[in-house]
Symmetry: C2
Subunit: 245 residues, 2 copies
């Protein structure tokens, strides 16, 4: 009988060319499919909830695949974690209804972007934060973030691609807060465009530095022109936190 298996995956994306499989480079999907194919002794293809870019991390990425063997979820969990290298960990393996699809069934996705904001950088979490030396006004950034909540055309905040016809997304939540030297932003939406979080964050940093006014943010949204927004922040600060179903 066919079974549909949901994987919840934690990874350090530093040494990978993103989630999605590509020829000749190391990707998260490629590594997991390689291990599953070893376990099942045949080619297994998984479907991921979101395509994180090179260097982007995940606390709870979701993927699913189908199989028709009697291998238990417990066995799959142990076998996968035994085969994968230490920068990818399967947090859970669950059997789900056959119509579950990690990408199409997803109702929302949450990302965090973390900035180390102090005069000197740090060694401990250097692959997971963007180091920014100059002081940032987190209250202004949080207020600016709130202005993006709602349904908007985010053309100014993405890299366009031929696959994408619709640039409207609904931001459910976008908040910034300080925790010691870290400035953490959390953003939840029904879906994200390519580079969207990193461009939104680059724009918020301009606000935090006092370089963009709140009024300007509205103008940038209306312009539907990527060149109006702030720079794209580096991948290392970005982490896919949760996919909601």
């Amino acid at each position: 009988m066919e079974k549909n298996i949901k994987l919840t995956i934690e990874y350090d994306g530093t040494n990978y060319h993103g989630f999605q499989i590509q020829p000749d480079v190391k990707t998260i999907q490629g590594e997991i499919e390689r291990c599953l194919s070893l376990i099942f002794q045949k080619t297994i293809k998984i479907y991921g909830a979101g395509r994180t870019d090179a260097g982007v991390h995940a606390l709870e990425q979701v993927a699913n695949f189908k199989h028709s063997t009697d291998k238990s979820t417990g066995l799959l969990h142990r076998a996968l974690n035994g085969l994968l290298s230490e920068d990818i960990i399967i947090r859970s393996v669950e059997e789900v209804p056959l119509d579950f699809h990690s990408r199409y069934s997803a109702r929302n996705r949450t990302y965090q972007y973390t900035i180390l904001n102090r005069p000197y950088s740090g060694v401990f979490f250097r692959d997971f934060v963007y180091f920014y030396r100059y002081s940032l006004d987190v209250e202004a950034m949080n207020r600016a973030a709130g202005m993006f909540v709602g349904t908007h055309d985010f053309s100014s905040f993405c890299v366009k691609s031929d696959d994408e016809k619709n640039y409207t997304r609904t931001l459910v939540r976008f908040k910034c807060w300080r925790s010691g030297d870290l400035l953490i932003s959390e953003i939840e939406a029904d879906g994200f465009l390519h580079m969207m979080v990193r461009i939104l964050m680059g724009t918020l940093v301009q606000v935090g530095r006092g370089k963009y006014s709140f009024e300007r943010l509205g103008d940038i949204l209306k312009a539907k022109d990527r060149r109006q927004a702030g720079p794209t922040l580096p991948a290392r600060g970005l982490c896919l936190i949760r996919v909601g179903y």
Copy 2:
């Protein structure tokens, strides 16, 4: 005029053979001396407060050195951080009285040991925690830790060396607490013997698993025999947090 310079140093010890300089291998001291020698165009030797072992980290290691040039602390700070690789960071550069010696002036040292205690390991802080799968009784461990506070001969909790004549140390504080999936231990003493924190932690883990009784801890101390204590935990969980003067 001669100046005495105090460096406060943060490092990820993963890729180093410890703090202390050794021929033919990469050490923290070796890297800092190499950069200082470039800056001063002559050989500079630094003195560290503690010799952390291979793979051990530091949040605030301290070292000092002397020079007689007009280079300011601000210039030294920027130049060092510009030359050092991203796993070593100079947190501060201060001019201190000429009689200050990072090692001999130190009154106490504080270490943290961090255990990731949950059924599956984690990718994000994997170089900075020891992963332990089975559940640990943190209250028992904290009570056991408290029993070591005070002045004792710690011969059972170290690797002896010919340099060391005196195995008595005074533990000022030794506490364990849980923070989410992390079990953090903090230990402060006037000084530490070789491998002392890692052997004490290996012994506490046996208590946390219910394998050693509280009574047994007293027997181990009295035995003055390394073989009576628990195993040495890995370096990766250990971090020198602070040196007090």
